[in-house]
Each structure stands twice: as structure tokens, then as C-alpha cells.
Symmetry: C2
Subunit: 343 residues, 2 copies
């Protein structure tokens, strides 16, 4: 049972993702929810309680993309996307960034890149805390409060260490700005230090966020697992996606790793209204999001098959004209199915 | 009268910067202040009131680099560097990023890059506002408060528009995260809109900070002037420096554009303790900081000469072995002096 959520302007990539999913889990039960720009325009609704209640009954959620220029900035992001992340306690925002063979990086001399960013998903500067005082006067003050709790930081740091411990390089980098954001920085540093005691096998590094953006373009191969807060994670994962070939390929998971709530998987790219309806959007990130979803549900073998099929397709496709949305989906589905038979 | 400030571990680049300065302003009176790691270790002092008072009497300040691994992270940054920026009301943190001909970018196919980031310097998440509650308990909460005032935002936005209006492309990009940081985002957006009415000749764009990091590696040529807050500016300018050949070349000005306080110029790079004392640090960023300093003091012709000399040297130098610190300084000084004579 997968709750499928999309904003109506880019069903195309999701259709292909489901095509691929059908090859490995033909019996998947899918419920479709039309949330997003179209619904908001028609009814003013963003995320009705009843829909949220139904979504909670699903094993996982696949999200297409949210956002449309016809909706004022922030409405859908906060009322739908962030609301889901917060309501469903998606504290681990998982964003792998891998430079697949065959994919062109904007970097001149890219090394092997294979990192996972574990971005905190339920607090930090995203808490929505802050306000405006004396609005529209010369004495206006706007505040934004980043809230970091030991509960919130510890659970995401634990998750990041566990992921690092399970990877060949076993390396974890904390990214923050501890020399300026001293309060939050102190908490993050102490938690990483404490949890590291239980993982003597994982090497730990620290980088300021500004320095991390430099290394992301000069030496991205150094990163294995990165753990960071909600805002730094937002910034770094877009940059990591860019150096590994673009957000057209980047998948992500918004996860409640306690499994009390369904986790939600989504391509990092937006709804790309400029190319919507033309049938040319690349469904690869949506397909890779399905792989993350299956992995989370324990379907490791199917997940690996999808990822291997994507890797094969990226290594062999003509990147100048990769084909229409449906054609890429067909190719990936065929690869997965042959993989299922022979693999 | 230039107050010179350095932390004792990297006087080398400053010596070369002064060598070059001497070619254009032989009569410059220089006062040297040994603040930084060595002084802190010896006396526990970071920025004595008396020194701050003396610095206020200078026309401008040239800062070498602050930071040493022997000093706990944050001490020098907050007690010295940020304290100066805040005490001297350095609200315009000016960071040009230009890809000079001959300089190798980490990007595969770099376009022409010539941008100026105007980073707010006295508020935002750098205000030092926040705290720890229930420290070292499972219920600990750490907060960081970003403070944005219409006074603070307006003066930096006005400065950015004025700079954009004076450049050939006349293009200004506001970078923020208005869809999440809605309070601060609202203030920044409204101020940009208001000020733009007085600059119909300047085209205005908006980008979320995460998207800006993508474009910084896929399409950096699009940027002319960027205006942004203190933290986003910190992140973006390191990234902009990286794509234009590294922070070894990046200069910056911390400016009180009202001229009530002396402005402070510094290379963006740190004190690079790993190569200190070896005579191999590249003084180019320090020399370019002198050019910014002179420009600020109205010595536009001298400033241009220095920049042209740097551009010539970068276009013609052997980037594999650019020479020792003093040798680069000698070359630049000679270029500037021949420029002075012939230019
Ligand atoms: C759309 C926006 C609210 C969102 C975020 O900032 O988290 C997006 O940038 C992302 O990274 O998923
Ligand atoms: C050293 C640090 C406090 C400083 C900052 O964050 O502003 C530095 O990164 C910079 O950009 O000048």
C-alpha cells in the first residue's frame, strides 16, 4: 500500500516510476491523492485532515513534485510538503548523491562521488518559529528561530552513524557553522562526539558549511556520510546533486526511521513547470525514489535491481537525447524486468 | 593611515600586500597591531578597548587572517573578526568573484564569471542571539535567532542596487529562502521591491539559496550583483570563490559605507596554518584586498592599477609553480610600478 501524492502538473515522471515499481511489486496497492496547486486553486485545500489520516495508514508515500508559479511562493511548500514532513515526523531526510558512470558532471575533473547526506528534517531553521514586529514601518524586525533539541539532533546523528558504519569507507562528516552559531553548534558537536564513542569504527570529521561548499566542488570524493541540520542540508544537497549531474537524477527519502509514520520519497527536483506536459521530463529521480522507498520497506533486492537498472541505463544512454519521459520509463522497466528474470 | 591587523601566523601575504601598496601610495602611514592567536595565548586579550579605539582613528584596516588550531574554534572568530565587523558597523560585506583569464576553474566549461556578492554584515543569524536551555540533559534545547531589521536590510539593499546600477549588466539577484524563512524572507523581498522602484534600470531576480548553489556551478555567468543575508552570503561567497579559482584569490571588504567607521579589507582565505612559515602562500588575495581598500578610499586609479597588474600576472603566470610568496609580491609590485609610470 503506497499513498501516491502529486500536484497534478507533473504526473508524467510518477507514471514511469509506477511502471518500474510494477515490475518488481506487481501487487502493490496504490492510492492516488491529488494534492497540490490544482486542488488548492479549486478548493483552497492544502492537506485536509482526512487525507492526512488516510496517508498515515499507508506503508509509504511517493511524492511527485510540489509547486506551481500560479501559487504564491511558500503556500504549497509549507502547507503541504513541510507540513507532511513535520506531521509524519520525517526526521531523517536522506539524500544520496552518486556520480553514476556515464553522467556528465559540471566539474572538470570529477573524482568518484558516492555520498549520502543525512539532513535533519523536523527542526532547525525550518521550525517555523519567528515573526515580524512593526511590519511595514522603518522599525520593522523579522526574526527566524532555529530550534535544535538534543532529542532531535541525537536521533538523526545516530541514524547517520549507523549508515556510515554500514558503508565501506565508514566516514562521517558533521557540517555546521559552530564558530558562529555557537549554541546550536555546541549541541551538534557534543552529540556527534557522544555518539561517536559507540562507533569507534567510524572516522569523524567536521567542516564549516562554507568550507563544505568549496570541497563539494574541489574535492567531493572526500565525503561518505554527511550529517547536518535542516537548512545546511537543504543547501548542500542541491549542490551535491548539481556536481553529480543535476537534480534531475537526485532522489530523496523523508523518513521516520522509527516506522511510526509512513516515510515519504520524492525526487529532489521541483515540478519544473517550464517543461510540464511536454513529455520530456526525466523520470530517473522518481524511479530512484522508488528504489529508496523499497529499500526502506525491506525490499532490498528489488531496490538494488532498480538502482542497477538506472546505473546501466545512465552508463549506456545517449545523454544528448535520452528519450521521452515514457521511453526512459520503458527502458528502465525492461531492464528491471530482465534483471528480475536473470538477476 | 591604515591600521594593519594580523594574527602573527601569516604576516607573509600582508608583507607583499604592503609592498604593492607602497608602489602606489609611498607615503601611506601604517600602524601594525598584533592581534590574534599569539596575543591571546600570551595575554588572554582578543581586542582590547584601547586598540579598538585606536583602530577607529584609522582610514582603513587591512586584516591578514585570523585563526589557529591552537585556539578553540570560535574564540578568535567571534572575539576578534566578528567583533570588529559589528563594532565598526561593517554592514556591507563586499565580495567580488571574477574568473580571471588564465585561472583554472574546477568547472569543466566555465563561462565568463564576474559577480559581486553584497553580503549583509551586521545582523541575520550572525547576531549572536540564541542560547542553550537544559544543557547536557536529554531535554536540551539550543536556539539561534536570525535578526533582520528594515534599517539593516534596507541599507545593504540600497548599496547593492547602487553597485548594480554602476555595472554594465545592471542585474541584481536577491538570494534568500523566502518559502521557508517566511518572516525574514518577507522583509527582504519587500525591501528589494521598494528599492527597485528607484532603480528602474536595474533588472531584479530572485533565487532560493539552494537553487543558487546549483546555478553557481552550472551557470555562474548569470550573476552580476547578488544581495543576501549574512549566513547565505558566507556560504555563497566561498562557493563563488571556489568556482573562480579558489579562495586563494578572493578579496573582501567589510564596509561601513557611511564612512563613520573605518572599513576593513581582508582576503577571504583563512590563516592556512598548514602552510604558514613556508613562504609559499599566495599573496594575491591580500593584494586584491588592498585594491578594494584603495577604491573605498577614493584612490580609484591606484586600485585599478593593482587589479590590472593582478589580472596580467594571473594571465601570464605558470600556475603550476607561481613562485614563492615574496616572488609573487615582487612581480606584482613591479607590474604596478611600471603601470604607474606608463599607465
Ligand atoms: C521546497 C522546499 C520547501 C524544500 C526544502 O527547502 O526543504 C526543497 O528545497 C527540498 O530541498 O526538498
Ligand atoms: C571566520 C568566520 C567567522 C567568517 C564568517 O563566517 O563570516 C568567514 O567564514 C568569512 O566568511 O569571513
Amino acid at each position: 500500500m503506497i499513498g501516491l501524492l502529486r500536484d497534478g502538473i507533473e504526473p508524467a515522471v510518477i507514471a514511469e516510476a509506477l511502471k518500474v515499481l510494477g515490475e518488481v511489486v506487481p501487487a502493490a496497492e496504490i492510492t492516488r491523492y491529488d494534492l497540490g496547486a490544482a486542488r488548492w486553486h479549486a478548493t483552497g485545500e492544502l492537506l485536509p485532515e482526512s487525507v492526512l489520516g488516510e496517508l498515515r495508514q499507508h506503508d509509504a508515500i511517493l511524492l511527485g513534485a510540489v509547486g506551481d508559479p500560479s501559487v504564491p511562493s511558500g503556500i504549497l511548500e509549507r502547507g503541504l510538503l513541510l507540513r507532511l514532513r513535520f506531521e509524519l515526523d520525517h526526521h531523517v531526510n536522506l539524500r544520496p548523491a552518486r556520480l553514476y558512470p556515464g553522467v556528465r558532471s559540471p566539474l572538470a575533473d570529477p573524482p568518484e562521488i558516492d555520498m549520502v547526506v543525512v539532513r535533519e528534517g523536523t527542526e532547525g531553521p525550518y521550525a517555523g518559529n519567528g515573526g515580524l514586529l512593526r511590519k511595514d514601518t522603518p522599525h520593522e524586525i523579522a526574526t527566524e528561530v532555529s530550534i535544535n533539541t538534543s532529542f532531535g539532533v541525537e536521533r538523526v546523528v545516530r541514524d547517520a552513524f549507523a549508515r556510515a558504519a554500514a558503508r565501506p569507507r565508514r566516514h562521517l562528516t558533521l557540517v555546521h557553522k559552530t564558530n558562529v552559531l555557537t549554541h546550536a553548534g555546541s549541541l551538534w558537536s557534543r552529540v556527534v562526539e557522544e555518539v561517536s564513542l559507540q562507533h569507534p569504527d567510524v572516522t569523524v570529521a567536521y567542516q564549516h558549511v562554507d568550507a563544505a561548499t568549496i570541497h563539494m566542488v574541489t574535492d567531493p570524493g572526500r565525503y561518505d556520510v554527511i550529517v547536518t541540520d535542516n537548512l545546511f542540508g537543504d543547501i548542500l544537497t542541491d549542490l551535491a546533486a548539481a556536481v553529480t549531474g543535476g537534480i534531475g537524477l537526485a532522489a530523496s527519502g523523508n523518513m521516520d526511521v522509527t516506522r511510526r509514520n509512513p516515510s515519504m520519497f520524492e525526487p529532489v527536483h521541483g515540478s519544473a513547470p517550464d517543461i510540464a506536459g511536454q513529455g520530456i521530463a526525466d523520470p530517473t529521480a522518481a524511479v530512484l525514489s522508488v528504489a529508496l522507498l523499497l529499500d526502506h520497506l525491506g525490499e532490498h533486492e528489488s531496490s538494488r535491481r532498480i538502482e542497477a537498472s538506472v546505473a546501466f541505463d545512465l552508463a549506456t544512454r545517449d545523454h544528448q537525447s535520452p528519450g521521452a519521459t515514457y521511453a526512459i520509463g520503458d527502458r528502465l522497466a525492461a531492464l528491471v524486468s530482465s534483471n528480475v528474470r536473470t538477476g
